[in-house]
Amino acid sequence: MQMPEPDSNTLAKKDRLEARIVEAIGRQAVIGDEVELRAYECDALTAYRCPPMLALLPRSTEEVSKALAICHEMNVPVVPRGAGTSLAGGAMPQADSVILGVSRLTEVLETDYTSRIIRVQTGMTNLAVTGAVEDDGFFYAPDPSSQLACAIAGNIAMNSGGAHCLKYGVTTNNLMGVTMVLMNGEVVELGGAHADAGGLDLLGLICGSEGQLGIVTEATLRILHKPEGARPVLIGFSSNEVAGACVSDIIKAGILPVAIEFMDRLLIGVCDEYSGAGYPDCEALLIVEVEGSEAEIEHQLGLIREIAMRHDPVEFRKATDADEAGRIWAGRKAAFSAIGRISDYMCLDGTIPVSQLPYVLRRIGEMSKEYGLGVGNVFHAGDGNMHPLILYDANKPGDLETCEAFGADVLRLCVEVGGCLTGEHGVGIEKRDLMVDQFAPEDLEMQMAVKDVFDPKWLLNPAKVFPLASSEARRMAAE
C-alpha cells in the first residue's frame, strides 16, 4: 500500500513540536518514545504499519484544541484515533504525522431519559454506552461486532453499522450532536439534544468523514428502551438463490426483523465446527431475528415460517429458549475467528442491491476459481452488505497480492451491479485507490472541496479516502 513520502522538514520538527505540545498539555499526554509508539503503528488492518512521530492523548476538548492549534501552526499532519479497530487502515499513521487519540476521554456527561439521549466523551467504547444506561432498561442501538473495543469516536468517523441496523439504522441515524475541534483548534458544536439541523446538515456530513474534517470529542446519542425479548430462527436452504428469494419475500411481507444474516456453505461448515452450533449440512443458511413480547415474537416467527416453507427449506429451527438462541448465534458471531483458525483471510465489505445477491455470489465463486483462492460469504442479507472472506496464505510469496487483486475485483463487481465499495468499514487506505471505480473525477473533486472548507491545509488524516493521485495537489500545497 502506497503512502506519501514522509516530508523531511516535518520529521525534523519532531523535538520542537514535542516540546511545545508538552508545554501546552503536559508530559503525561504526550508519547514520544519509540517503543511505546509501536502501540500506535497500525489499526486492525495489521498488514500495514508505520509508527508516528508522536502520540498525543489529551484529557479534554480544550487540550485537543491546544494540541491541534500547535500542529496546525507547525504544519504537522494529524491522524485521529479512537480504539484502533478500523479494518480499513483509517487510523494508520504516516511517518511524518502525530496520532491524536481520544482514549482518555471516557466520561458520560449527561443522560436524559425523558428526551432519550446520552452525551458522552467519544473515547468511550460502544458497549460502555449501553452499559451506562442498561440498568434503566435502555441501550445504544448501533452494535458493531467490535463493540467491546471500538470507541464512539471511530464509530462516528466510520459511520459504523451493526447486526441490528436493519431495524435501528447505523451510527448516523442515532447521532444527534457532536462537539468537534477543527484542525486550527477552533471548537464547534453541531446538533444537540434536538432533532435535525436548523441550517445545512453538517452533522450528517461529519459522520462517516473518516477523521478528515475535525476531531470529535463529545457526542449526543439517541438511546432506546430495550425490547421485551428477541429470538432467532435458523433456516437452511439448498441454494443461495432460494435463500435470497426468501429474504426478499420476508421483507416484502412487511415483517421487519432486527437482523437477517446469511452464511454460505463454506462458512456454515467452518463455523459449525468451531462453535458446535449444530448447523445443518446445506448450501445457504439464514439467521432471522425478531423482537417483541412473547406473543409478538411467536406471531412474527409464524409468518416467517409460512414464507420459508414456500421455499422448501432444508431445515427450519426456531429457538425455543435462550440456550438454543445462543447456539444459533454462536456460529455466526464466531465467523471471523473460525475462519481465522483455518487460514489467513481478508474481509471485504461491499454492498449490493439485494436483488443482485444470487448473481454476485455466483460471480464470486467463478472468480475464486480464476484466482485460485477460496472464499466464504457471510453478510447482513437484509441490507445487501456483504462480507466475503478471501482465504490466503500470508507466508506464501505473492498470495497477499493475489488476494488483494481478487478483493478489488469483487468490490468493482459490487459497484457494477449498483452497489458500493464499503457498507460499514470505511475507505481508509484500503479502498482509497478504488474510489475512481465508484466516483467520477468531479464527484471526488466536490468531496475534496468540502475537506478544503474544514481543513484548508489538508493536515487531518490527509492520505486516506481519496486516491493519492487525486489528493496530491492539495496535500503538496499544504506542505
Partner: protein
C-alpha cells in the same frame, strides 16, 4: 421574469451552466416561504417519473419533479410507504400545486413518525444534482448501507436547493403496517402530556407518533404494526400510563394526517416550528401566549399567531432556543415582516456553512438568500 423548464438532467445542467442571474428553484410550488431574492424561476416539474422501484429491496429511485402523490400511490400498490411521512403544506399555507419528491428531499420534510423512524434524511440513499456551475454530480447510491466517501446525501437533504439542483433521489421505503390505533389521553398540562409521551417513547412498546394538543388537553400516541401486536401494546401502555380512549384505524389515520399537516393552523397568519430537546417542551410552553401544538414527543413545537405578532413571536422563540438549544424555522409569515426563515447559526457554524455553499455554488445563483448568509 424568465421561467426555465429543463426536460432532463443534461438539459438542466446546460441551463444552470448558462445562467447569468440567480434563480429560484421550484418543485411543486407548494411553499413560497423565504426571501429568495431571485426573480427568475427554475421549474423542475418536467423532470419527473419513477426510475426504479424494488419492493423486495425496499428501494425507490425517482426524478426530482415526481409528485409525492404518484410515489405514494405506487408504493401503496405494494403495501409500502415513505415512512418519514412527508407533510403536505398546502392546507397550512393555502397554496396550490403538487408537492414533489425533490422538494421534500431538499427541505428534509418529515412528519410525526420522525420521532420513531427518523427524518427524510435518514431514508435518503442517493442523490444526483447539478451544482451552481452546471456540473453533474452524484453521491450515495441505491443501497441501504454505504459509507464510501463523504455523505453528501445528508448534506443535500435539507439544503433547500442552495447547494445544487436535485434531479434524482433514491430513497429507502418501508412496509406499511397491518393496522394502527391511537390512544388519546386526557392531559391537563404540558408536564402531564410530556410524561405520557416520554413514558411511551421510552418503553418497549414502540409508539410511532406522540403529539399533544394543548387546546383540547389531549396527548395522542399512535401504535402501528400487526393487529395482535398493536392490541397488546395498547394494553401495556394503558397499564403504565392510565386509561385512554382508543381510536381505531379509520379515525386514527385522518387524525395523524391532520396533525402532521398542521391543518389547525391554516387560518393563522404566522406559523413557526421549534425543534428542541423534548424535556424542554413545558418550559417553552410556559412562554407561549398564542396557539401551539407539540409533535415528536415534545421535540417539535408548532407555534402560531397573528400576522402582526410575527416578529415578536419569532424573537421569543429564537431567544428560547439560543438559551436552551435547538432551532426555530419560520414556516408562514407575511413577506413584509422580513423574517429570516432559519435560526441564526453560531458564528463558527455559519462560517463553515457559508464556505460549503460557496464551494457548491460560487456565484450564489441557486435560491440566493433563502438560507442564511447566502
Amino acid at each position: 421574469m424568465t421561467v426555465y423548464q429543463p426536460k432532463d438532467a443534461a438539459d438542466l445542467a446546460e441551463t444552470v451552466a448558462g445562467l447569468g442571474a440567480p434563480v429560484r428553484i421550484r418543485g411543486g410550488g407548494t411553499r413560497a416561504i423565504g426571501q429568495c431574492s431571485a426573480s427568475d424561476v427554475l421549474d423542475l416539474s418536467a423532470i419527473s417519473g419513477v426510475v426504479d422501484y424494488e419492493p423486495g429491496a425496499l428501494t425507490l429511485i425517482a426524478k426530482a419533479g415526481t409528485p409525492v402523490s404518484e410515489i405514494e400511490a405506487l408504493l401503496a400498490g405494494e403495501n409500502q410507504r415513505l415512512a418519514f411521512e412527508p407533510m403536505d403544506h398546502r392546507a397550512l399555507l393555502g397554496t396550490m400545486g403538487a408537492p414533489t419528491i425533490g422538494g421534500v428531499f431538499a427541505a428534509n420534510v418529515s412528519g410525526p413518525r420522525r420521532i420513531a423512524v427518523g427524518a427524510c434524511r435518514d431514508f435518503a440513499l442517493g442523490v444526483k444534482f447539478i451544482d451552481g456551475t452546471g456540473r453533474q454530480l452524484q453521491n450515495g447510491g441505491r443501497v441501504m448501507k454505504n459509507v464510501t466517501g463523504y455523505d453528501l446525501v445528508k448534506l443535500m437533504a435539507g439544503s433547500w436547493g442552495a447547494l445544487g439542483v436535485l434531479h434524482e433521489v433514491s430513497l429507502k421505503v418501508m412496509p406499511a403496517p397491518e393496522t394502527e390505533v391511537t390512544l388519546v389521553f386526557d392531559t391537563p398540562d404540558a408536564e402531564a402530556a410530556l410524561a405520557v409521551m416520554s413514558g411511551a417513547l421510552g418503553s418497549p412498546f414502540e409508539a410511532t407518533g406522540a403529539a399533544y394538543a394543548p387546546e383540547w388537553g389531549k396527548a395522542y400516541l399512535r401504535l402501528e404494526g400487526f393487529e395482535t401486536s398493536v392490541r397488546y401494546r395498547a394494553g401495556e401502555l394503558q397499564a403504565r400510563l392510565g386509561d385512554a380512549e382508543i381510536l381505531q384505524e379509520d379515525a386514527s389515520r385522518p387524525l395523524w394526517r391532520d396533525l402532521g399537516n398542521v391543518t389547525d393552523f391554516s387560518e393563522a397568519g404566522y406559523v413557526a416550528t421549534v425543534s428542541i430537546r423534548p424535556a424542554h417542551m413545558p418550559k417553552l410552553a410556559a412562554r407561549l401566549s398564542g396557539p401551539w401544538l407539540a409533535d415528536w414527543g415534545g421535540g417539535l413545537v408548532w407555534a402560531a399567531g397573528e400576522t402582526g405578532d410575527a416578529a415578536r413571536i419569532t424573537d421569543e422563540l429564537r431567544g428560547f432556543v439560543a438559551e436552551h438549544g435547538g432551532h426555530c424555522t419560520v414556516v408562514k409569515a407575511p413577506e413584509e415582516a422580513g423574517l429570516a426563515v432559519f435560526q441564526p447559526e453560531a458564528p463558527a457554524v455559519a462560517r463553515l456553512s457559508d464556505e460549503v455553499r460557496r464551494k457548491f455554488d460560487p456565484a450564489g445563483f441557486l435560491n440566493p438568500g433563502l438560507m442564511a448568509g447566502a
